[in-house]
Amino acid sequence: CTENYAEKYYNRPDVQKAMHANTTGIPYKWTACSDVLIKNWNDSENSMLPIYKELIAAGLRIWVFSGDTDSVVPVTATRFSLSHLNLRIKTPWYPWYSGNQVGGWTEVYEGLTFATVRGAGHEVPLFQPRRAFILFRSFLRGEKLPNS
């Protein structure tokens, strides 16, 4: 229900003033999502896989993670998609840890790291903030997720 709290907070005039927001008087309320944009989305590429291939070849650090209790873009969707990149495995599948508990599972491919986050839904850092933070820190440092 947390987006309801955001709707209350960001529609407060004092908050908008403090954030230098809505200076032109936008003719609608601040909302977490725009129905108009969703309904009228004009162009959407079918697949991101060709871009992944290009950017992996360019040497960018790419990590993909998946909260395992989301049924909208679930972990199996991501795994099916990534499997079609046909990447070579560098570090085989293993459980990673956060505070003596399994945080999820991960596999390091040539050019891409995939990790699941146990007990997290669609918004991973909302449902599992500590595990998401460890994931982010490892990503920034270019380190593998902890295996113990």
């Binding site: 907070y9 230098h20 725009s34 991101m48 918004e123 933070f133 982010f136 990503f139």
Partner: protein, 261 residues
């Protein structure tokens, strides 16, 4: 730098004391149409001058990075139930990086356009192009972040935005001799990646997590052609049956969490 100071947030209503700087405001990305994107930038809690810069994008398409990324997920503040005050997020990502939240495209959150037709024909391509323009102009306003290690992250439909922007930056950098955006990598979560494989994987998840019956699973696989541009009526019907008669009243975004009434 002058505009940077004008964008400085002295304090947000109901905010607890903090030791980091924050800024927010608008960057115009298209003068002719009057498109301006809103950002909220929270510097790292310690030695921001030595920490990388992370841009966070939310999905939708059409959902706010301020609402989700900043206020529910990785930002320093959470909002209390009544919307009257803020409290600190113990695992805020600005402990490790300087975080830039972008409301993208125009029409999301506080971002706006003076050309109403822009709201009716937004799409992947313009979103990426506007985000690139935003970044280059934002870095003019915050020159300390030029050439700084830079990463992009996001979730859901940002599975499109993030790699598409990364590609735009990659192409832009190839065309410039001393590019200011030092893109090192990106990270996406529960990301829309490939329409066909994502769809097969989604239905498989529903079945393997016992959210739908064997019969419905077989029926979806039989009647849905996930390569088609538009889904068939038979496919829509059987998916609707699964959602309305088998899922139950659950939060599809987190299947074991009580749904918000």
């Amino acid at each position: 730098p002058k505009q940077q100071e004008l964008d400085r947030i002295s304090s947000l209503p109901g905010q607890p004391p903090v030791g980091f700087s924050q800024f927010s405001g608008y960057v115009t990305v298209n003068e002719k149409h009057g498109r301006a994107l809103f950002y909220w930038f929270t510097e790292a809690t310690t030695v921001p001058e030595k920490k990388p810069l992370l841009l966070w994008l939310n999905g939708g398409p059409g959902c706010s990075s301020v609402a989700y990324g900043a206020s529910e997920e990785i930002g320093p503040f959470r909002i209390n139930k009544t919307g009257s005050s803020l409290y600190l997020n113990k695992y805020s990502w600005n402990m490790e990086a300087n975080i830039l939240f972008l409301e993208s495209p125009a029409g999301v959150g506080f971002s706006y356009t003076n050309t109403s037709s822009d709201l009716k024909d937004s799409g992947d391509d313009r979103t990426a192009q506007d985000a690139l323009i935003f970044l280059t102009r934002w870095m003019s306003r915050f020159p300390a972040y030029r050439h700084r290690e830079f990463y992009i992250a996001g979730e859901s439909y940002a599975g499109h935005y993030v790699p598409q922007l990364a590609k735009k930056i990659h192409d832009y950098n190839k065309a410039h001799s001393n590019p200011i955006i030092n893109l090192k990598g990106f990270m996406v979560g529960n990301a829309v990646t490939d329409n066909y494989y994502d769809s097969i994987g989604t239905v498989t998840f529903w079945w393997s997590h016992s959210m739908i019956s064997d019969r419905t699973y077989k029926s979806i696989m039989k009647h849905c052609n996930f390569t088609a541009e538009k889904s068939s009526t038979r496919c829509d019907d059987v998916v609707s049956y699964a959602i309305n008669h088998e899922f139950g009243d659950i939060d599809q975004y987190s299947i074991y969490t009580p749904s918000c009434l």
